[in-house]
Amino acid sequence: MKEEIELIKDGKRLDGRGFDELRPIKIEVGVLKRADGSCYFELGDNKVIAAVYGPREMHPRHAQDAKMAVVKFRYNMAPFSTNDRKRPGPDRRSVEISKVCREAFNPVIMRELYPKMGIEVYVELLQSDAGTRTAGINAASIALADAGIPMKDLVSSIAVGKINGEVVLDLNAAEDNNGEADMPIAMIARTNTITALQMDGRMTQEEFGRGMKLARGACHQIYELQRAALVTRYNQNYEGKNKREEE
């Protein structure tokens, strides 16, 4: 059994947050020139960039799907993103996360519009502090929209967990390493449809239910931030276009 480390003091978490409070979020859209769509996303000390390429011709041919676009998702940690240097290249953890993230988007991407094509989503973790896959999904969601990939809706993601016996939102690294459970969730916030769910650690059925509720509320908040960032980006583009036309 893990020795219990005090992660909650006077009803507050060590970083001062309440149980249902997100870490600060920062979003920049369209940060990369070469990619068709891109997004820089900060969730507390997590720093992540997502880029989207496509729809474009899919190689190798035998990997094509005659009925719909194939989505590739690559979650990758930069070697310097972690306390101990991460060896470059995919490991078992990143392969699993890439799969879960890809599946989180399958319900929303209108893949049937692009048979035989590929849509590629690349997420690079530049600095990590627990919850990296949720930050990655949030970034990828915006990058997909920025690339103009037709989607039924945005996907929003956050983790809930259990620390010192309490169900709390959005664990940071200290909480994750010393907590009892972690449960990353992705959902289509507007329809409360869960598209990704994992759980690690130990929690009761009742705690699980409470966690779901917390996650739902947070995903709605994140959804609004994602939308706002995309609106800003759209306006910039629109203004930029108008300006150029005026010149």
Binding site: M1, A66, R92, R93, V95, E96, S98, K99, V100, E103, N106, P107, A181, M183, M187, I188, T191, N192, T193, I194, T195, A196, L197, Q198, M199, D200, G201, R202, M203, T204, Q205, F208, G209, M212, R216
Partner: protein
């Protein structure tokens, strides 16, 4: 191409059945296929079990060897869970390094064992920072007829429950058994046409938009979950899956562990 059409046809068939409240093999939606667990089937392994769920067959072997601990946990033993989806087991499996499916399978099984803290890793330490027991849980799939994860997880815990620590082989003394603190059991359900079905057959697994594995412990707490597949699920559906998961795990635990 030919194969894909066959898949589509089978998927349609399964979905039509489910809409009418039926399954291919006549089971109820909350009914498992026959399960059998045979232990200590491999002499060379320190623990082993052959699990069948219907025609699905998985062989789990656990090897225990001496090794050095990880630098950040110098006083703890090491558990490594590995899956080989050998091409013997399915026309869909290919030779080569583990792909995302076999990695996910191994990691979900591993997560259940770790989450439940079944094994006291401290007891696997022989000399802090120098020598610990390495427990290799190798999942060898022999026949894939659906729901590999429940079979693999059941095989893993069954193998661990009567593990022999090979002290003699390394000239050590001490307890040859390892007290187990819990018995996590994985239960997988899938969503097809709005219905929740437990223990998906091969075709049901293909037909389902989503599947959720729920791993739970003797006291009914959860120790791992994983959604898989390209569909979305409502909260209520997941709640139902958790409910079923805990209930079925209890039945399996009672009968087979």
């Amino acid at each position: 191409m030919g194969l894909e059409i066959v898949n589509d046809v089978r998927t349609d068939y399964v979905c039509d059945l489910v809409k009418n409240g039926k399954r291919e093999d006549g089971r109820g939606f909350r009914e498992y296929r026959d399960i059998s667990v045979e232990r200590d089937v491999i002499k060379r392994a320190e623990g082993s079990a052959r699990v069948k769920i219907g025609d699905t067959e998985v062989l789990v072997g656990v090897k225990v060897e001496l090794g050095t601990p990880f630098p950040d946990t110098p006083d703890k033993g090491v558990i490594i869970t590995n899956t080989e989806l050998v091409p013997l087991a399915s026309p869909k499996f290919e030779s080569g390094p583990p792909n995302e499916n076999s990695i996910q399978l191994a990691r979900v099984v591993d997560r259940g064992i770790r989450g439940s803290e079944t094994i006291d890793l401290d007891k696997l330490c022989i000399e802090k920072g120098e020598k610990v027991w390495m427990v290799f849980i190798d999942i060898h799939v022999l026949d894939d007829n659906g729901n590999l994860v429940d079979a693999a997880a059941l095989g893993a815990i069954a193998s661990l429950l009567n593990l022999r620590i090979p002290n003699e082989r390394y000239g050590l003394t001490g307890e040859n058994t390892l007290p187990m603190r819990d018995t996590p059991v994985a239960v997988t359900t899938v969503e097809i046409e709005g219905n929740i079905l437990v223990d998906p057959s091969f075709d049901e697994g293909n037909a389902a938009a989503s599947s959720v594995t729920v791993i739970s412990n003797a006291d009914g707490t959860l120790s791992g979950m994983q959604k898989s597949g390209s569909g979305g699920l409502k909260e209520a559906q997941i709640a139902e899956m958790v409910e079923i998961g805990i209930e079925k795990a209890g039945e399996i635990r009672k009968k087979y562990l």
